[in-house]
Subunit: 136 residues, 4 copies
């Protein structure tokens, strides 16, 4: 569970953790029912405040990506909901819009963007529906 923090980054540490856990799951380094490091373990490993890790875990739980089983620890949830969270989609579209705008300004072409997207998807496992193992 290799997570590393960039202290300089402007994105909050707890958010960096959230993002990296998600990435580890997409990359299948972490799989459903795998146990995460405890809050204290991870905090001391990263040399940060346990509160910060806790906040990250809470956010991940809120997104139903992990779940805590009392007395046992924190685990990756079984199935990742592919339910079209409308709110989330809106956010993604908004982010994408800004991203395409910025790309336009500095001269990054459409095709380059698409290439980058494909690059990431390939890196994380190829199949188009990696995130919905039960369907199909």
């Amino acid at each position: 569970m290799p997570i590393h923090i960039d202290e300089r980054s402007t994105t909050p540490i707890w958010e960096q953790i959230v993002q990296q856990v998600k990435e580890l799951i997409l990359k299948k380094v972490l799989r459903p029912n795998d146990k995460l490091m405890s809050v204290r373990e991870l905090a001391s490993a990263l040399l940060i405040n346990p509160n910060t890790v806790s906040k990250a875990y809470q956010e991940l739980e809120r997104q139903s990506i992990i779940e805590t089983r009392r007395g046992k620890g924190t685990f990756v949830t079984e199935a990742l909901s592919g339910q079209g969270n409308e709110q989330k989609i809106k956010e993604i579209r908004e982010s994408l819009k800004l991203l395409v705008m910025e790309s336009s300004y500095i001269g990054v072409s459409r095709d380059t963007l698409v290439q980058w997207i494909d690059g990431y998807l390939k890196e994380w496992g190829g199949e188009d529906d990696v995130n919905r193992p039960q369907s199909k």
Copy 2:
């Protein structure tokens, strides 16, 4: 120059203004040498503090997107240089990565993303007609 602020959003007001001005330029509603609303005008139109507008304008100027002429007002810059800002590209790639991650989780396919991108680019298209009518 229709700008509107989302008070609830977590992104700072000044940044919302920056983004929307950029969008207006991409959409060619604002064209090179066009005058922006004055700091005071825009501030009272949006019911926000002039300082906030000022900060937005200063950031836009820093990015060479607009320029202020003393005592005259603020204007859209002549040409948008496509200088390959490496730092900026890094940021875009990072954002894109997160965005693709989120998309995977929520079940948004690669093709949908590409469609969205093409949609935005088309919307800002290259036509040279002044103030494209929103209808059509």
Copy 3:
């Protein structure tokens, strides 16, 4: 971290701070990873508004001279990259031109100018000793 403000000067306070911080770094009074005074501390020390200090710090960060770590404070950046900023060079040449013009008018010779330059460079010299004593 001795900074002092000239209230009479026409150059903005925030810019005076920027300049003096830069000077302190060149003089090696401040070194990479050193922590700057907090916005509030410096503001109350200088009897100015925290916003003004903040603006100075933000400008220094924009120039990659310092960096802020959330909730921790503001620190001197590791390495000063000598990236050949063309725009900046143009500005320097312009300033230098004016300066030489003024010098000519007032009867300051070329050699005097060169002496002054050497004086400054020597003052900020390359020695690696921490906090060079002003005495000696």
Copy 4:
């Protein structure tokens, strides 16, 4: 008397005029007792407000670089004072300090600076004491 204004520049127009007049004198395009264009002439030539030209001329007069002879016009003064205006010297030293600081940051060497200085002096007429014709 070729003067041109950069509307985009952040330095005030009146100051641009002051600088360029000084430069023209150093370059000997304008010589002692030469008549300057009238305020109105110059203003309409530059498409700017006469007040702005007036302000520039006032500043030049304040520095004893030009003088107005009532009913006759404005003229370049006879001899340029080489008196070591202490205040002015202080200002020059301060500017030079900042300039050298900035140069250090972006990696412009001492020798480059000296070359630039020599370049300007040569451009304006070579002799070291161009500005004090009466001595020697």
